[in-house]
Symmetry: C2
Subunit: 265 residues, 2 copies
Amino acid sequence: MVIAYDGTRYSGWQIQPNSQSIQGTIEQALSTLLKSPTRIIGAGRTDAGVHAQGQVAHFSTQSTFKPDQLLYALNGMLPADIRIKNLHATLDTFHAQISALSKEYHYHLWLEKIIDPFVSRYRLHFCYSHFSLTLLQEAAQAFIGTHDFATFANVGSKVTTTVRTIQRITIVPQEGGVRLEFQGNGFLYKMVRNIVGTLLEVALGKKIGQQIPTMLAAHDRKVAGPAASPKGLFLMKIDYPECFANSSSNERKCENGLGIPSEIF
Amino acid sequence: MVIAYDGTRYSGWQIQPNSQSIQGTIEQALSTLLKSPTRIIGAGRTDAGVHAQGQVAHFSTQSTFKPDQLLYALNGMLPADIRIKNLHATLDTFHAQISALSKEYHYHLWLEKIIDPFVSRYRLHFCYSHFSLTLLQEAAQAFIGTHDFATFANVGSKVTTTVRTIQRITIVPQEGGVRLEFQGNGFLYKMVRNIVGTLLEVALGKKIGQQIPTMLAAHDRKVAGPAASPKGLFLMKIDYPECFANSSSNERKCENGLGIPSEIF
């Protein structure tokens, strides 16, 4: 299933005791509908306050519900700030996290003095007279490519390697400011927010953009800037091999295991 | 001042005992800053749950605050869902309600099956397989012009006449559906929501568009459809005579009383 959510009210994607998570809220509705405790596995564990337009999760069920019936029944039970946008059957070999080829995150900045109250929960309000978008844009280029991102990762879930590839960082003007679009094969815990926090320090002249390669080489979280607020961050889109699309004609290819990348997440 | 607000949490514009209103929230912050109880007069009394991008209000003060200082101090004190977008000094003859020449309201409809969770507080979710946008568009034309709108007004604030002029109703496609733009010289209590509610019944075939002139002639609230939900409605813009703009060169014209229309609100 593809899921959109406003993360403002939630403790993040992942189920945690004594807090309201996105995963927990969906699992509760799904388990009630399917009349059986049902675990869902998400593609990425978004933090408290982070939003999504294209989170992906999978689950296994013996239920005879048709996907469309389940889609509308689920949305009927879920709170208005979580919507299942799409739901379809796929192969047993599909895994929302492991099968992912690339992910896209957007970070939204409001750079003007007065923020629109309708987007204040979805933008970082960052208004300083000495803010330089040019410095930010130049510095962002240093992150593109394959790097060891240990400096920009918080200690969180266990990973076998901190090497990741960022294919694209695009800075797109939009109402009130800009959004930073990140596309990569995977992102470490808090990596996007740590990169944005560092870029914001560069934009204010607190850090030097040319030092980013040195920061990357240090493998030391302390040399980078602080994490930017979660409210500006959206998980937008996750790409999977074509063979997992909702088309039975492709199933043979998938059964041969084509398109499943090695464990890079 | 020009004010934007997300009306979701509020009991409406107007101060009421034991409830949180937009007017009351702004008056409280303003009175604290000016160290004197200060009443503000709004251009229109939006209902509970109605939003604004361009509400206008005026107040009188002896304070020596500069307008820009006051603007930023006010926004610093107000909750994030109310923002003062603009504030400037004008002539004593200005009255936010009486000086208004025309108002623009937008009503937002989400017509697809699954609503984006980021706009669900700002759209009426209206998804029916037999919905006809063509019927709605044709019927909307019958409201344009000068009519007695008593059929489409709830009993509310006292008015001397229920005749109003709607200059324009435009139906604009947007993500997930359409917005209905209304421009007129003034709107009666719940008039936009009652017109939208009636147009939605026409779109479903529950009412006949050609009957709208008969409904108008009836001067009877009971023959029209129910009020559409407040959550889709935005007060967008209020036009005033040029002479009240923030320019001292125009002040002489204003002192002659030019551009102040007769009492139509």
